[in-house]
């Protein structure tokens, strides 16, 4: 788990503000992910989550720093990194099959029509849209549109998936179903996934690691919370896990209070060695994003813990 499949190194994003000054959304941000890991970023609006995702996708360039994916610094977009957009971003003049086939034919340009179609069909079936191939996006519900977006992203067999609040526009029931689908697909295919969300429960259900970001401008990655729930967790009995509420309370507390006060309270915060938080496992030490070994635990969450 210490192998860095994705490594964001000292990136900054600055925008020119009024009177010639520059506003930094974030400075010196370090973040790493292992292959096959599902990571969620949580933070308030304006903390630069989407900017980080766009930089990872190659849609935006950092003002400083670099992003290394699979041992190579990225420059621009790549078919290795698929994006699932918040607004699904389907091409409305194409059918479901046409949208997925567009991605497939972009990746394998020499494939003939039949091969592209067959490959696209596999992924339409995977997201459960069999029978709707020839519908246009306007004829689909919000959930179905996002399924097409997922199928399109998966169809190019990327090395990682980037998701920008993919389910935020959906109703709770559809969101739950799609979370199940995404979890199943990511586990089956061993996808590395980076997802932005506002939904604490979504992060707990899906993520292996949760990145907590403070408020911008000048946002920092405050903590990396390792999800203590078992990998084979189910949606229905999630909340019965002994560490569920400790984890949830920790994240909610961060969002409610610590995201504002973090910078003032933690002057010695080292962005290169962001503390890795293990809920209820004080004994375990895991390397942080830097080389230095650090550990943090949440007091009062583990029965065996004494101060």
């Amino acid at each position: 788990m210490t192998e860095k499949f994705i490594s964001i190194e000292a990136i900054a994003k600055r925008y020119p503000g009024a009177d010639g000054a520059t506003t930094a959304v974030f400075e010196n941000l370090w973040l790493s992910m292992a292959r096959g890991e599902f990571c969620c970023v949580i933070g308030h609006s304006g903390c630069g989550k989407t900017t980080v995702l766009n930089i990872l996708a190659g849609l935006d360039a950092p003002s400083e720093g670099a992003v290394i994916v699979d041992g190579q610094a990225i420059s621009g977009t790549s078919l290795d990194r698929a994006v699932i957009f918040q607004s699904h971003a389907l091409l409305p003049w194409r059918t479901v099959l046409g949208n997925v086939a567009y991605a497939v034919s972009s990746k394998w340009r020499s494939w003939d029509r039949a091969k592209v179609k067959a490959h696209a069909q596999t992924f339409i079936d995977l997201v459960g849209l069999t029978g709707s191939e020839h519908k246009r996006p306007s004829e689909l519900s919000g959930g179905m549109k996002q399924r097409v977006g997922i199928a399109r992203a998966l169809s190019i067999t990327p090395k990682m998936m980037l998701m920008d609040e993919p389910f935020s526009a959906l109703d709770a029931l559809t969101r739950g179903t799609l979370q199940d689908e995404v979890r199943r697909i990511c586990l089956e295919t061993g996808q590395t996934a980076f997802m932005i969300t506002h939904d604490v429960d979504e992060a707990i259900y899906l993520a292996d690691k949760i990145f907590l970001m403070t408020n911008g401008p000048g946002a920092v990655l405050a903590e990396v919370v390792v999800n203590p729930l078992p990998r084979d967790r189910g949606r229905t009995d999630l909340h019965r896990h002994p560490l569920y509420y400790a984890l949830r309370n920790h994240i909610v507390d961060f969002l409610v209070t610590r995201s504002k006060t973090f910078a003032a309270e933690t002057p010695a915060h080292d962005p290169r060695n962001v503390p890795v938080v293990h809920i209820g496992k004080p004994g375990l030490t895991v390397a942080s994003s830097g080389d230095e070994q650090r550990q943090t635990w949440i007091p009062g969450t583990s029965p065996g813990l004494t101060a």
């Binding site: 849609l59 971003a89 003049w93």
Partner: protein, 280 residues
Amino acid sequence: MTTASLRIRAGLVSIVLLVAFLGVWHLAVRSTAPVATMSAEYAKLMGLTATQGKSAMPGPLDVGAKLWEHVRRPFYDNGPNDKGLGIQLGYSIARVGTGYLLAVLVAIPLGFLIGMSPLLSQALDPFIQVLKPISPLAWMPLALYTIKDSSISAIFVIFICSIWPMLLNTVFGVASVRKEWINVARTLEVGTIRRAFTVILPAAAPTILTGMRISIGIAWLVIVAAEMLVGGTGIGYFVWNEWNNLSITNVIIAILLIGVVGMLLDQILARFTRMVTFPE
């Protein structure tokens, strides 16, 4: 059900309005004016207006009879000043078609370039803003002097008047393609040319077609005036020639036909616009 009955009711109202209009027209041009008593010699010099109190304005029946004559023989050619209406309309449509197609060939690729490049867009904006409001007929003397051919000058005038709505709409359509669609193409590593044809063109097509529809309307408005100036052939020349002949009947027929052809051209473009419009 409701829409069908609405359509029938609207159709009925249209027919009633048409009949009422024709009735009023018919009554208005009846011989009602007082007939002056005059000697037979003098009466020969005067028109029907003076001798029978008949208005010089033809009634709907006169126009209908004359129209039927034209419809039966649309393509006769009795020399430069007496050609069938089909021939005259054909000349006008050919001029509009040529000038318009040339404008399409220039405006759409140029609009694409300008729309995709913020630099060109800002650099060319002042020129477009100045050239756009110029009445196309103001170009006529310049065209006649440089081209030295009245028929090609008319085509040039059509070209210059239909280029602006198409150019501006193409620029606007291309520049306002949704960012997320562009981003989809970028994440799929789609090259510029393929992106232009598979994302930008379909996304901007409804806006471009709307510009083309505005252009064809303007071109058809302008051709009548242009042909009145250059003369020789065309429906605009026909109108002016019949005015010189004092044939109000033919002028009214020409007005009617200009309207019908204009409507058909607009409908053709409307159909194309519907073909490329996508629901969101």
